[in-house]
C-alpha cells in the first residue's frame, strides 16, 4: 500500500448502518443485520471514483471513544493510529442513525475534537421521515462546520451525494502525524448533551411519540406470557419448516438424481467408468445436494430474524435464563448464529465484554447444531424414525430433530455451568443492550444473503464434497477382491481395511466399520458423512440410502451415531477458528478433547440405554 493512498474511515454507533454504507460505497457484500455488533473486525474496501488511490475502512460500532468494550476499542485504536501495521485514517465519515440523532451526535462531537476532516452521513433518512422527524440539513451542516448528507444506505439513496462530499474531502491536506493523542475529556457528559440540544434546537423537529406499531409490537414481544409463547413458537416453527416444508423439493431433487443415475447406468458401458460416475461422483454429490432446500429454509428464518430487530429482544428476554448457567443475554446472538455455522458464531463472541463469558461461549458454541449436521440427522431420522403424527400437530421426525437440537442446548448449558463454577466470576460488566427499532427485512439483502448461503453450499458440493467423494470411491473400489471372493467387494478395499482398523475403538458404541469409514472425511465437513455412506454402501439417492441403512443398522446403533454427531468436533474450520480467537494451543486442545470425550460417552450411553429400553 503506497503512502499516497488516502484513507477514509466509517465511524458511528453500533447498528446505524455503517456496513450497508460501506457496501454501497465500495460495491462490497459484507454482512448487514439489525443488531449491534455485526461487524467485529475492521474491513477495508477500495474507493474507485477519486483522483488518487483511496480506501475505506469499516469500523465496528462504538458509543464512545472514552469508555469502550473490547470490540469498541478496535475503532478507537484504528482512529488514533495505535493499531500496529495500520496507518491511521486521513478523514472520517461519521454515520448517525437519523432516528437517534442525540446519541449519534454525541460521538460525532467527540470525533470532531480529534481534528480530522469529517463528513457526516445522516443514515436511515427514510425511517426518520416516516416518523415525522424533520432535519434542516444545511443549517446542521453550518452549525457543525462539516458537510452533512442524508442517506438511505440499503437503497443507495444519497450515496451519490456522499460520494460527491468524499471527492471534495480528498483535496484536504493530508496530516503528517502517525498518531493522535486522545484529547482529555473537555466537558462533562451533561454539558456535551446540553451543547447537542443547542445544536439541534430549531433545525430538527422530533414528534413526541415513536410509531404506535413499534410500541404495540414491543408490548407483545416483552409480555411475560405472550412473549414466551412467541419465542417458543418461532423456534419450533423453524424446526417444523425445515422438515415439513422442504420435503417436496427434497423429493424432487432426489428423484432427479435417481433418474440421472439410472439413465447414466444404461447409457454408459458397464465397467470402471460407469462405476466411477454413478457410484462415485453422482452418489457422493447427489446425496448431499438433496439437503439444499432444508439449508435454504433454515437460513431464510435466520436472515429474516436478523434483519427484523427481534434478535436483541430475544437476547434480552433470555438474559435471566442464561445467567443461570453463567452466560448472559450477550451470548445469545453468537450462540444462535452457531445454529447456522459455529465459525461466524465464534467470531461474533468478540462483542462479549467479559473474557470468561466469551471463553465459555466459544467452548459451547459447537454444541449448537450447525447446518452441516442437518444432512446427517435428516438421513438417519428419515431412515429410522416413523412419520407418525403426534398430538395431531407435530410429526415424530420433526420432534426427533427438535430433541437433537435440545440435547445440544442442554449439554451446552451444563458445560457452561461447570466452566463458570471453575472460573469464579467477578462480573462487573453491565448488560446494557440496545434494542433497535423493528423493521421489515430488506428484500434485497434477504435474497442476496440467501443466494450467498445457497451458493456456498452448492460450491462445497462441487469442490470439497466432490473431491472427497472421488477419494472415497477410489478407497472403496481398490484393490479389487480376489476372484473367488465370497464377501462383498468393499470388504477387500482400502476403505474396508481402514474401517476395520479403527472399528475396534468404536466397537463399544456399536458402530460397524462402514460407519467408521464415514467418520474420517467428516473431519473436513460433517455433511460428507452422508456421501461417504452412499459410497461405502454403493447406493445413490436419499431414499435408497435410507432404506439400506435401515436394513443394516440396528436402531440403538443409529441413535448412538446421532449422539456422536451432537458432540464430536468434526470440523477442522471450527477448530481453526477456536485457535485463532483464543490464541491458545492449550485451550484449543482442551476444546477438542472435551468434545470428543463427550461424543464418545454420549454415544456409549445412548447405545446402552437404547438396548436396555428395547
Amino acid at each position: 500500500m503506497s503512502d499516497s493512498t488516502l484513507r477514509f474511515a466509517l465511524v458511528g454507533n453500533p447498528n446505524c448502518g455503517k456496513t450497508a454504507l460501506f457496501n454501497s460505497l465500495t460495491g462490497a457484500r459484507a454482512k448487514v443485520a439489525n443488531y449491534a455488533g455485526v461487524t467485529v473486525e475492521k474491513r477495508i474496501g477500495r474507493l474507485t471514483q477519486l483522483d488518487r488511490p483511496a480506501e475505506l475502512i469499516d469500523l465496528p460500532g462504538t458509543y464512545s471513544l472514552y469508555v469502550a468494550s473490547p470490540d469498541e476499542q478496535v475503532a478507537r485504536r484504528v482512529l488514533l493510529g495505535e493499531m500496529e501495521n495500520e496507518v491511521r485514517p486521513d478523514a472520517l465519515i461519521a454515520v448517525v442513525d437519523s432516528t437517534n440523532l442525540k446519541l449519534g451526535l454525541r460521538l460525532v462531537l467527540e470525533l470532531k475534537a480529534l481534528g480530522l476532516p469529517m463528513i457526516l452521513a445522516l443514515n436511515l433518512a427514510d425511517s426518520a421521515e416516516r416518523r415525522g422527524i424533520r432535519i434542516n440539513v444545511e443549517e446542521l451542516s453550518r452549525r457543525l462546520d462539516m458537510p452533512v448528507v442524508e442517506t438511505v444506505a440499503v437503497r443507495q439513496s444519497g450515496v451519490a451525494a456522499l460520494n460527491a462530499a468524499i471527492r471534495q474531502a480528498q483535496h484536504q491536506p493530508q496530516r503528517q502525524a502517525t498518531r493522535i493523542e486522545l484529547p482529555q475529556r473537555q466537558e462533562q457528559v451533561e454539558a456535551l448533551y446540553a451543547r447537542i440540544d443547542t445544536l439541534l434546537c430549531g433545525c430538527v423537529s422530533v414528534p413526541d411519540h415513536p410509531p404506535r406499531w413499534q410500541e404495540t409490537l414491543d408490548a407483545l414481544v416483552m409480555h411475560p406470557v405472550i412473549g414466551l409463547i412467541l419465542l417458543a413458537t418461532i423456534l419450533l416453527l423453524i424446526f417444523q419448516a425445515v422438515f415439513a416444508w422442504a420435503s417436496p423439493v427434497v423429493d424432487a431433487i432426489d428423484g432427479s438424481v435417481q433418474w440421472l443415475s439410472t439413465t447414466l447406468t444404461h447409457l454408459l458401458p458397464a465397467g470402471i467408468l460407469q462405476d466411477f460416475i454413478v457410484n462415485g461422483v453422482l452418489a457422493g454429490c447427489g446425496s448431499v445436494l438433496v439437503f439444499l432446500p432444508q439449508i435454504v429454509i433454515l437460513f431464510a428464518f435466520i436472515l429474516a430474524l436478523e434483519d427484523s430487530g427481534y434478535l436483541p429482544r430475544a437476547a434480552f428476554l433470555l438474559d435471566r435464563l442464561m445467567r443461570g448457567v453463567g452466560l448472559s443475554g450477550r451470548s445469545f446472538i453468537p450462540l444462535l448464529s452457531s445454529f447456522a455455522c459455529a465459525v461466524p458464531g465464534i467470531m461474533a463472541t468478540r462483542s462479549i465484554a467479559d473474557p470468561k463469558e466469551r471463553l465459555i461461549t466459544i467452548m459451547v458454541a459447537p454444541l449448537m447444531t450447525c447446518s452441516a449436521r442437518l444432512p446427517v440427522y435428516a438421513l438417519v431420522i428419515a431412515a429410522f424414525i416413523p412419520k407418525h403424527t403426534v398430538l395431531g400437530l407435530f410429526n415424530l421426525q420433526g420432534l426427533t430433530l427438535f430433541a437433537l437440537y435440545v440435547a445440544g442446548i442442554l449439554s451446552a448449558a451444563l458445560v457452561a455451568w461447570i466452566m463458570r463454577r471453575q472460573h469464579t466470576s467477578d462480573d462487573h460488566f453491565p448488560l446494557l443492550l440496545e434494542l433497535p427499532s423493528y423493521r421489515w427485512p430488506n428484500a434485497y439483502h434477504f435474497l442476496l444473503g440467501l443466494k450467498e448461503r445457497a451458493w456456498i453450499f452448492i460450491r462445497r458440493v462441487g469442490t470439497v464434497i466432490l473431491a472427497l467423494s472421488i477419494v472415497l470411491w477410489f478407497l472403496a473400489s481398490f484393490p479389487y477382491p480376489p476372484a473367488a471372493a465370497s464377501a462383498p467387494a468393499i470388504d477387500y478395499s482400502f476403505a474396508g481395511m481402514l474401517g476395520k482398523f479403527i472399528q475396534p475403538v468404536f466397537a463399544p458404541l456399536g458402530f460397524n466399520w462402514q460407519m467408521c469409514v464415514a467418520l474420517i472425511p467428516a473431519m473436513a465437513a460433517r455433511e460428507v458423512t452422508v456421501s461417504a455412506l452412499a459410497t461405502v454402501y454403493a447406493v445413490g439417492g436419499e431414499a435408497a440410502l435410507g432404506s439400506t441403512l435401515a436394513h443394516s443398522w440396528p436402531l440403538p446403533v443409529a441413535l448412538a451415531y446421532l449422539a456422536w454427531f451432537v458432540y464430536a468436533p468434526q470440523c477442522l474450520s471450527t477448530i481453526a477458528v477456536v485457535k485463532r480467537e483464543t490464541n491458545s494451543l492449550k485451550t484449543t486442545t482442551a476444546f477438542i478433547v472435551y468434545l470428543f470425550a463427550l461424543a464418545y460417552l454420549g454415544a456409549l450411553a445412548t447405545h446402552a440405554l437404547a438396548i436396555a429400553w428395547s
Partner: protein, 98 residues
C-alpha cells in the same frame, strides 16, 4: 412491587428505576453510586450518562425479561435499552403522572 413505589411516592416521589412498574414514566433525578460494581462503578456511571441517562431525561419502562423483573427494558430519547437490575438500581427517578 408497585405498592413499594406507591409508598415511596407519598414520601418523596423518588424511586430507583428497578422498582418502577411496566409502562411507568419517570424523570431521572440522578445516577447514584452502586457498590456492587466496585472500582468500575465510575465507568458504569459514565457509560450510562453517555447513552443519555442524565438528570432531567424522561424515561419509560417498556418491559422485563422472562421469569422475573431483571433485566428491564427502558426507552429514553427515543432509544430503547435493556439494563440489568444492578444498573437500574443506580438510576434514581421521580415518577411522572400517567
Amino acid at each position: 412491587m408497585s405498592h413499594l413505589c406507591d409508598s415511596k411516592n407519598t414520601d418523596t416521589g423518588l424511586a430507583p428505576l428497578h422498582l418502577l412498574p411496566r409502562g411507568a414514566r419517570a424523570r431521572i433525578v440522578e445516577i447514584a453510586a452502586q457498590r456492587e460494581f466496585g472500582a468500575e462503578d465510575h465507568q458504569v456511571t459514565q457509560r450510562l450518562k453517555e447513552l443519555g441517562f442524565l438528570a432531567g431525561a424522561q424515561i419509560k419502562v417498556i418491559g422485563f425479561g422472562l421469569f422475573g423483573k431483571d433485566p428491564i427494558a427502558v426507552q429514553i430519547n427515543g432509544t430503547k435499552f435493556g439494563l440489568r437490575r444492578r444498573e437500574a438500581e443506580k438510576i434514581m427517578t421521580q415518577l411522572l403522572p400517567v
